[in-house]
Symmetry: C2
Subunit: 145 residues, 2 copies
Amino acid sequence: MDNLDRGIIDLLRQNARAGYGDIGQEVGLSASAVKRRVDRLVADGVIRNFTIQVDPAVDGLHTEAYVELFCRGTVAPDELLRILADVPEVIDAGTVTGSADAIVHMRSRDIPSLEAALERVRHAPHVDHTRSAIVLSRLISRAID
Amino acid sequence: MDNLDRGIIDLLRQNARAGYGDIGQEVGLSASAVKRRVDRLVADGVIRNFTIQVDPAVDGLHTEAYVELFCRGTVAPDELLRILADVPEVIDAGTVTGSADAIVHMRSRDIPSLEAALERVRHAPHVDHTRSAIVLSRLISRAID
DNA sequence: GATGAAAAGTGCGAAAC
DNA sequence: GTTTCGCACTTTTCATC
């Protein structure tokens, strides 16, 4: 993982379909050298996936919420992970400092489907209650993982 | 935007480097038909970008926080956008229901750099105060926009 | 270990239909 | 929408440092 790898990653982030030759010209390597490094980055798990960013509105996913999760007693992160992994509406989540145990970012088609997903989280073991903030207008979308 | 388009998008989300022929075989179209649809989806802005998902830890971005933003008086979403767009540590943000005006998801190298970014947000016009929850352990990372 | 150059194979992309 | 075809790209091999 040197500066060449970082350069390759930056270029792929901007355009994952860029040709190896084009990338090589930017970072100063031959096409085959770039391919070998990309293959290694994928094998090492540095590059997790090649994906596309889709307009959420077009995709029919208009409704978002940030949900604070409060649990009874002490709950291991692994247990929270198992609960949340089963709900596809959860797009990101993490345990946090403060009074809440975790913050969960959810996205779904509409309010009813969001509510249904929220109910699934609420009725999971250990979950005491939740506090939701529905997103009114999305301001920034730079997350890629 | 029909079910074929949705199928193509789903496959590209899983693997943006999938060949048009392979995609066509899955959704029941020829390679060139798939290409034309993908080109149209890109032109229409449905597909925003082809990117890679990089392990944030490898990338040196270990520190995350969810920040509630409280403003003085009424602030238009556009004004909040201008404030937040200047802070690269902001990876996603939206105005929300509830007592906070917005929720901001931030990511940076470490706590000091997170604090510095937070200071920039705090001292922006209209911002009254913030309430942060530092992420202890990331549970789910499915966001792609 | 790493690279670059050249070979072979594969898929893209632009036609014509 | 499909099929065809030339070409560019990927991917492998090999020699080199």
